[in-house]
């Protein structure tokens, strides 16, 4: 993962033999043992590790669930109930998987907002950031298709509404929708291809996540000051300092996860999805999962369907352009007084959009959705370019060590000097 030379020295004969043929232990050593990380990382920096754990949980539970699930419109609902009743610990696997999707999104949203606040998307981390946006898109596609698999009412009607979004594309819209459905309505062929893709996409996420880690290990971690590592004093080796901190954070996160899995397993789901899919009966309210609600609000904010769909996709795509939309030279929001206010206003905007996504699209809610959609895009398209030019940032510390220990104590110990110069380049 890391392109800087490894400090790993194989000791045993077997390790020497392997290392001279495939230097994989050295790769792991330089990436996850000796890798220098800023000494001032907060718990917000542990969400990358949490996300890795969640991805693995989803993969393992998902693969086992697939051994017992039947992807057929007539049997899917029953096979899920078979898992819940007759498969040994099937209820645990399914509840972990279903709630795991929600907790995956909780972690990824915290991870993204951390990146937004501390300017982790800025040079030299643009590719790292864009890979993250791709992972988010893959996650959304995977989660959406996964929700269709139990073939309950919300599965069926959610699939119908969302796939129909593509019908607004001029000229080829209907063809694309028929292609997605494998027919002229959501049915058994749709379920089959969604199952196939739901199994495929997580491995693509895994692949892009590896690129994401690789792209992280070239410039190294950003940190709360945004100031790069300048000397060994600014850094600590990944192991044991971050490994123990990550593990502590992971266990705390899993405790919250367990609270839901064991005590509130259906809290984040929809009761309607325990009603078998019925093409003849439309549920009173078709609502996406909570993690899609802000985007759903943007979709419904405009009366024109095509424009709504464009806006919805743009609301995610705009993230990929953020490294170039933000003109500020200062990374960390901690040193940007106006940015800091606007950032929290943006967080509130996203939460309000989420709430509006759960409301009926009528009356005051539509107007509010329109206002907050404008605010959402204004953050990226107006605030980010202008702030960098107008805002006067606070003075930056000379180094991470100075920022966290103060000028007097800046002699605190860290990594041996030289071992932890900022990886690769002085970004």
């Amino acid at each position: 993962m890391s392109s800087h030379p490894t400090t790993y020295v194989p000791k045993s004969a077997a390790a020497k033999w392997l290392e001279s043929r495939l230097p994989i232990i050295g790769l792991v050593h330089s990436s996850f043992v000796a890798f220098p990380v800023p000494r001032n990382l907060t718990y917000f920096w542990t969400f990358g590790a949490i996300l890795m754990v969640m991805l693995i949980i989803q993969l393992v539970t998902g693969i086992v669930l697939a051994m017992h699930y039947t992807a057929h419109a007539d049997y899917a609902f029953t096979s899920v109930e078979h898992i819940m009743r007759n498969v040994e610990y099937g209820w645990l696997l399914r509840y972990m998987h279903a709630n795991g999707a929600s907790f995956f999104f909780i972690a990824v949203y915290i991870h993204i907002f951390r990146g937004l606040f501390y300017g982790s998307y800025k040079a030299p981390r643009e590719v790292l950031w864009i890979l993250g946006v791709i992972i988010l898109l893959l996650m959304m596609a995977t989660a959406f298709m996964g929700y269709v698999l139990p073939w309950g009412q919300m599965s069926f009607w959610g699939a119908t509404v969302i796939t129909n979004l593509f019908s607004v594309i001029p000229l080829v819209g209907d063809t694309i929708v028929s292609f997605l459905w494998g027919g002229y309505s959501v049915g058994n062929p749709t379920l089959n291809r969604f199952f196939s893709l739901h199994y495929l996409l997580p491995f693509m996420i895994l692949g892009v996540a590896m690129l994401h880690v690789w792209a992280l290990h070239v410039p190294g971690n950003n940190n709360p000051t945004g100031v790069p590592i300048k000397s060994g004093k600014d850094a600590v080796p990944f192991h044991p300092y971050m490994t123990v901190k990550d593990t502590f954070s992971i266990v705390c996160f899993l405790a919250v996860f367990a609270w839901f899995v064991f005590y509130l397993p259906n809290y984040l789901g929809h009761a309607d999805n325990y009603v078998p899919a019925n093409p003849a009966v439309t549920p009173a309210h078709i609502v996406p999962e909570w993690y899609f609600l802000p985007f759903y609000a943007i979709l419904r904010a405009v009366p024109d369907a095509l424009f709504g769909v464009i806006l919805m996709f743009a609301s995610i795509a705009v993230l990929a352009f953020l490294p170039w939309l933000d003109t500020s030279k200062v990374r960390s929001g901690s040193y940007r007084p106006i940015f800091r206010v606007l950032f929290w206003a943006f967080v509130v905007t996203c939460l309000v959009l989420g709430w509006l996504g759960s409301r009926p699209a009528e009356g005051i809610y539509v107007i509010l959705a329109q206002i907050f959609t404008v605010l959402y895009f204004a953050y990226f398209l107006i605030a980010m370019p202008l702030l960098g030019l107008l805002e006067k940032p606070l003075p930056l510390p000379n180094s991470i060590t100075e920022a966290v220990l103060g000028k007097k104590q800046a002699s605190g110990s860290g990594m041996p000097v030289g071992a932890a110069a900022e990886p690769q380049s002085k970004g």
């Binding site: 209820w91 009607w157 607004v168 209907d174 300092y241 266990v251 929809h270 009603v275």
Partner: protein, 300 residues
Amino acid sequence: MRDQDKGSRTMNKTLFIAGFFAASLAFSGGAANAAPGGVVPPRNDWSFAGPFGTFDRAQLQRGFLVFKTVCASCHGLEKVSFRNLAEEGGPEYTEAQVEAFAAEFLVDGGYDEFGDPVQRAATPADFWPSPFANYQQAAAANGGKAPPDLSVMAKARTYERGFPWWITDVFTQYNENGVDYLSAFLQGYVEPPEDFDPALGNWNLYYPGHIVAMPNVLFDGAVEYPRDAQERPIVPETVEQYAKDVTAFLMWTAEPHLEARKAMGFQVLVFLLVFAGLLYFTKKRIWARVGGETEGHAAG
């Protein structure tokens, strides 16, 4: 074929508009079946609520009795096997009792040596036989609306909690929305408003929109409950009691491993919290080597 293509395209559009319209009416909170303006069902004390909740065996057995005597003539319970009734964490009938329940039913027994279909007595391994052969028959026998299967009904109904309760529910672990609704629904066949036209259906206080195909089925004394030594019923034979008992039974059919889940949850949480505590102090120890943790950006 071309015409069909065209037709389906128009249907795509219609479906899209319909979907969009339905979606535009949407609101969240998993409030699938609670229409706006619906009456909020009263809260009950369920034995299976909370982190240490367990089913009350006697209540599940009474609930099964109500189901068997009243509900089963119209509703299926197709996800439940007879053997489940004897399993740990459920009504825990004896094997012999379950065999006797099963033996009351004849089920499809495959084919005999001449290839003719045969019937046989049900065994504990069989699923609870549905009262109707298929959906169409069920609908035809019930005025056009097939009575839904009850296996997961306790999780398939809910009502909207609203702000701030949807937040406090996370901490209080309230997720008995479904059973509170079902129990209220079964007791909800109260006197309809004066202007109600009985030709529309049946009036229920808690049903979203109030007009429901299902008639009132519970009456005081309708099901005979177990008696004590003086030949008096141990619990009252009232609509309220029947409704609660059968609802508890349906919670079990919807979530047969509820007790195991909650018990394991406690073990898992204790483990994770102790482990987190140990990790916290390990982390402090390790970071002490570099003069303690130095988080954030400000000198401190």
